[in-house]
Every structure is written in C-alpha cells, then in structure tokens.
C-alpha cells in the first residue's frame, strides 16, 4: 500500500515484473502486469441493480497490502467498506441466484493471481485457505444447529484431505490457541452455549484453521463489550505476529484501527477519500471528511467539555451519488476551490507533495495541499 501507483484506477507501473501464474497469465496480459504486492486491488467497482436504480456500493477503489501488515478500512454505514471485503473474498458472485446479479469490475490480485477474472471454483478453493474472514456478529455468523467443532472441522476438511479425527485435533489445537478454556470439551458445544467473546474467538479459530495469508475482519468487535473487545483486538494482533498474515480490519471505530492498523483507508460513498500510514492520517489528515470523523468522536482520553464538531447532513445516497466530490454537500469547505469544481468534477486520489512525497499518503480533495494543511493546523486541530 505504501508504494501505490500515483493515479488510482490505472494499471501499475511498468517496472513491476509480471509474476502471475500461467492460469492467470491471459488475464494479466489482457489487462495489466501482475503486481508484486501480496494483495492489490485495482479500480474495484461493485454495483447492485435494484428497483430504484443502480446502487454503486464501491465505485473505483484501489489499494495495496503487504504480508505482515494491517490495513484499516474506516467508514460509516453505506460507505462500501463491507462490500469491498466481500468483493475480495468473491462472495458477491458465489451463490448468486435469481436474475439480478452484482456487477463487479476491476482487478483483485492475491499472491500474483487475479481473482475477478478467475474461474469461480478456483476462487472458492482460495477462500478459507489463503484468505479468510471473520464477521461482526459471531452469533449469527455461526450455524446455530452445528457444534463449534463440527464447523471448524468442516472448514479444515474442505481444503485438507484428512480424517475427521485429525481435523478434530486441529480444531482443538486452534481453540486452545485462541484462548478457549478446556478446548477438548468446548469443541462439542453449540454456538449458543458460548458467550459473545468466546464465539468470536471460535470464529477466529475457524478463520485461521488453514493458516490463511490474508485475514479480513469485518467489524470484529462491534458486537462485543469493551473489555472483551480489548481481548479480541489483542488476540488478532498476537495471531498476526505469529502467523505473519496480512490483515484487513474494517470498522467504523477510529479507536479500533488506531490500535491495530499500519495503514488506513477512509471510505466515503463507495470511494476512497484518503489513505496513508495510520499516523499520518491520524495526525495530519488531508480530507475534510476525515476531519469530520475525528471531530465527531468524543474522546475518552481527554476531558473535553466543548461541543463536538459533527459532519452536517446525512450520508449520501449510493444511487444518486452527489456529482463531483461525493462529500461536497456536507463539506464546510466546498466553496474553497474555484469554479464550482467540487460540484462538477470528481477529485482524483493524489499523493501528497513536498516533504510527504513518497510516504504513501493520498487524498481525494480539490483543495490544494497548502489550503488543506492550513485549515487542519489552524482551524481543526486546535479544537480537537
């Protein structure tokens, strides 16, 4: 992610050698060379046809993630963050029935293999083995009628031809690793017999049973209590160190990403408005929406009695996305750039210049970097 090509949505630089396998070579040849990054998403678009019109849940998203790193995707409901994660997993196309299918375009490269153009059954074989996912609500994400053990065993045996006994041992081992007491007994429990935190641990055990290289955690702690959330975040951090996998953590909670993420991607209206190293985005944010998020958050670490600085208005419709910059109707600085450009032209994701050049900090805003830096340091930061 840190060395992402300058213009989003464009094919990568020519200096990246093609490392795609033969199977995907054709796809790569038709489009662009395979990237060197472990995960690279290029110009991802996920649109859903509905009675009211085309819902553009994700509309041109690009990012990169290396192994051993954690990317935090932040956004509010409807910003497209969960749709992105399901898109990477290929879960919009798997099990699509009926006439209305999601329309997906762009490229997703995982370990040199392009997924969107690949045979769906090949992608299925990667799911759960090379990339796996944990979800927000572990109670509804686990099948209520099967024991925890059976569900983990099933996840292991899809990708490994082993006996049930071997898989069961593996399940117990993983349950033990994620901190479930008496794993040899609890393996036969049903999800409803676990507490919320235990269920999420079991979910994590299931996601890690095949040693995946990419773990996507979609709001993994939102349904949990604070003290349990702390346990789970700790667990995810430890496991990442141990397994060396790449992690994408999707959340609306800036506190959670601050705990875990190396890089941050802020989404608004299906697009990325800002991304960069976590510290840069937190301490020198470059997009008015990021400012809004920071200003909206009450802080536990400060005794702040002044008013919060909310973002006015409501999130945008994904069917009639506002013209130009999707954020302009809610942006207090929409009139700073000249010629009404915020309403007519969609801002490109551009990397910061000057001392920050090459740091991988991008933002999509029509204001100049100088204007943004001035507003942040003089108007916003002092009030936070």
């Amino acid at each position: 992610m840190t060395d992402l090509t300058k213009s989003s949505g464009q094919p990568g630089n020519g200096d990246l050698p093609a490392t795609g396998t033969a199977a995907v070579g054709e796809v790569a040849a038709a489009g662009s060379p395979a990237p060197t990054a472990f995960l690279e998403v290029r110009d991802l678009r996920v649109h859903f046809p509905t009675d009211d019109g085309l819902v553009k849940s994700v509309d041109g998203l690009s990012f990169r993630l290396e192994k051993g790193k954690t990317l935090g995707i932040v956004g509010e409901s409807g910003s497209g963050k969960s749709v992105t994660s399901l898109g990477i997993m290929g879960l919009h196309t798997a099990g699509q029935y009926g006439r209305r299918k999601a329309r997906i375009s762009g490229e997703i490269w995982l370990n040199g293999q392009e997924l969107l153009g690949a045979d769906p059954d090949e992608v299925r074989k990667l799911r759960g083995r090379e990339m796996s996912m944990i979800f927000q609500d572990p109670l509804s994400a686990l099948h209520p009628y099967y024991t925890i053990g059976r569900q983990i065993i099933e996840a292991y045996r899809v990708h490994h031809e082993v006996t049930k006994e071997v898989a069961r041992k593996r399940a117990i081992e993983l349950l033990d690793r994620v901190g479930i007491p008496q794993p040899d007994k609890r393996v036969d429990s049903y999800p409803h017999e676990f507490s919320g935190g235990m269920r999420q641990r079991a979910m994590i055990a299931m996601a890690l049973v095949n040693n995946p290289e990419l773990l996507i955690a979609d709001e993994p702690t939102t349904a949990l209590d604070v003290t349990v959330q702390a346990q789970i975040l700790d667990l995810i951090r430890d496991l990442q160190k141990e397994f060396g996998s790449a992690v994408i953590i999707i959340t609306h909670d800036l506190g959670v990403v601050a705990e875990l993420a190396d890089d941050l991607l802020v989404m608004y209206g299906g697009r990325c408005v800002e991304r960069g190293p976590a510290e840069k985005v937190f301490y020198e944010p470059q997009h008015p929406y990021t400012w809004g998020l920071l200003g909206s958050m009450p802080r536990i670490d400060r005794d702040q009695t002044e008013r919060l600085i909310p973002v006015k208005g409501s999130p945008p419709s994904l069917i009639n996305v506002p013209s130009g910059c999707a954020f302009h109707p809610r942006c207090p600085y929409a009139d700073v750039p000249k010629d009404n450009i915020t309403r007519t032209e969609r801002p490109e994701l551009r990397e910061l210049r000057g001392k920050d050049a090459g740091g991988g900090h991008f933002s999509a805003c029509h204001m100049t970097q100088e204007e943004r830096t001035r507003i942040w340091t003089e108007e916003i930061a002092p009030k936070l």
Binding site: L86, G95, A141, E154, Y190
Partner: protein, 332 residues
C-alpha cells in the same frame, strides 16, 4: 427432559379424556336433538317396545351419564360385558361398543380402516414433503426466473383448488379415460403392487394440496436463510455451493416445515375424508362419513377418539423433533 416428557404425557391423557367425554356427550345430546333415543337408533324404527327395553338394559342406557361414561372408559381398557339377564355379550378390550347399523364390534372396523388411512396419509405426506420442499428450494435458488414463477403459480392453484375437484379430475383422466391406473383398493398384505397402484392417484391428489403450501413456505424460508450470516460464513470457508445449500441452508428450513407439519397432521384427517370418499377407499374417513349419515354413534365416537390420539401423538412427536433438529430448543 424426563420431567418434560412426563408433563406432556400427562397432558395427553387429560386431553384424550376430555375429547372422549365431549364426544361421549354427543352420544346423548344428538339423539335428544333428533327427538329419538340411542336404543331406538340401535334397534331400528319398527322395533317393538320390549326389544327397545332389552337393548336399553343391555347397553345400560338407563344409568346416569357419568356411570355410562365410566363403563365406556372401563371398556376401552379392560373390555366389558353387555348383559340383559342371561343374554351376555363380551366385548374384549379395547371395547368401543357395537355399531348400531351392522351390530358389529366397532374396534375391528377401526382396525380394518386404519391401515388404509395410514397408507394414504403416510404416502401423501412423504410425497408432499419431498415435492414441496424440492420445488420450494429450487424456486428460491432461481428466484424471479420462469421456473420460479410457474412453480409458484402451480402452487397457488394447488392451495386454492378443492380436493374433490382435483380428485375427480384425475380420476376421470387417469383412471376412466386413459385407464392407466386401477383405483380399487387392495390391502398391502394381499398384493403390494395393487396396493401401490390403487393409492397413486389418492396420494397425488392429497399431496398436491399440501405440497403447494410447503413449496411456498420452503421458498420463503429458503430466501430468508440464504441471506443469513452463517450462509455467508459457509461460503467464506470455501465450501462448494452444493454443500452450502445441502448442509447449511437446508438444515434450517426444517424448523418451519416441521411447525406446519405438526398443524397439518391434525388437519390431515379432514383431507383424508374427502380423498377417501372421492376414491372410495375403505379408510377411517369413509367410515366416519358413513357413520355420520347413519347416526351410528359408537362408530363416530371410535373414529373421533382415534383421530384425537393421532393428532395428540403427532404433535408430541413434532415437539420432540424440534429438540432433535435445533440444539437451542430445550424441553422443559
């Protein structure tokens, strides 16, 4: 679990007693409304007073109602003797009395008719479950397609068309015109092939009505389940879609299907009555219809009791099955 079973079985016994008492009351109330008395029904209109008095003695119709009820219940469990002086008739347990019309014991008539109804019900039930669920699942997976819409239209027809219409229609086409099947009932023990052949049309007729309902229910349930988080989890594990549907989604459709089944097993006898009349099957339904036309009270009483036992037991089984299907259901 044991406490639950005891409580449920206790409830079953109480329920059956109440049903028996109510039906037994009808035994006396109906003749009163009809301006006649049971003894008269038994002996027929041209009987002489002495014969009527004899019957009254023999059936102890002079005793208070509760005493008679007690005798009846006793007869069910221990058998009873009908005596008029030296004229003693022993009725072995379970004694449901004697038919007014044929003067035959009721119990053997019930045991003759029961296999027919059970064959009809079980076969139809199997057929509608398989047909209904399959149609529902396929429709859900092909939501909005031509298949889905045609299946649901046929299902709507199935729910709306009365049994005697579909029954007579299929009888006319497949039996009388095309002569594909013979509908004369043969017991399974006599000739399994004939038994099967004679029941094909009744099964289809009865199952069509119910299959339609189950198809619609399964489709709706399936659509809901396919949107559940755990289905997404199953796919995220890399399971084949076949396994996702077969192992994860189908398992959950059973709960609502079972609920409906519990209700339908009770109502099934009503459907069986019409089907049996249409196809002239010698089952409980036809027995009941004939008994009602003949005001043959002991037979009505017998059929009602059997039906009640059937419903109560079916419901108990369904409730127990809930616990088998869904580990979250704790009986107690």
């Amino acid at each position: 679990m044991l406490a639950y079973l005891i409580r449920r079985l206790f409830a079953v016994v109480v329920m059956l007693l109440v049903v028996t008492l109510t039906t037994f009351a009808i035994f006396f109330v109906i003749p009163k409304w009809a301006g006649t008395d049971p003894a008269l029904l038994f002996v027929g209109k041209q009987a002489d007073p002495a014969a009527i008095e004899g019957i009254r003695q023999k059936l102890s119709l002079g005793d208070p109602v509760l005493v008679q009820f007690w005798h009846f219940v006793q007869g069910l469990f221990a058998g009873r003797d009908y005596a008029n002086g030296s004229d003693v008739t022993h009725c072995p347990a379970p004694c449901f009395g004697y038919s007014f019309r044929t003067e035959q014991a009721v119990w053997p008539q019930l045991t003759d008719a029961m296999p027919v109804t059970l064959s009809l019900a079980a076969g139809a039930c199997l057929l509608w479950l398989v047909g209904g669920i399959t149609t529902g699942v396929v429709s859900a997976l092909r939501r909005g397609t031509l298949w889905d819409r045609s299946a649901m239209t046929i299902a709507l027809a199935g729910v709306s068309l009365p049994i005697y219409f579909t029954g007579l229609l299929s009888l006319a086409i497949f039996s009388y015109s095309l002569k594909w099947v013979n509908v004369d009932y043969k017991p399974f023990g006599d000739d399994p092939a004939m038994w099967f052949e004679s029941l094909i049309l009744p099964w289809i007729t009865l199952a069509f009505l119910y299959a339609a309902m189950y198809a619609r229910l399964t489709r709706a349930t399936m659509l809901e389940i396919m949107g559940e988080d755990y289905i997404r989890t199953a796919r995220a594990k890399g399971l084949r879609e076949r396994v996702v549907i077969g192992r994860h989604a189908m398992r959950s459709t059973w709960t609502p299907v079972l609920t409906l089944l519990g209700l339908d097993l009770g109502a099934l006898l009503g459907g069986a009555v019409l089907t049996e009349s249409t196809y002239n099957l010698p089952g409980l339904g036809r027995l009941a219809v004939n008994a009602i036309t003949d005001k043959d009270l002991p037979v009505i009483l017998g059929v009602t009791l059997i039906a009640a036992i059937f419903i109560v037991v079916a419901n108990l089984v369904v409730d127990l099955l809930y616990a088998v299907i869904d580990p979250r259901v704790r009986l107690g």
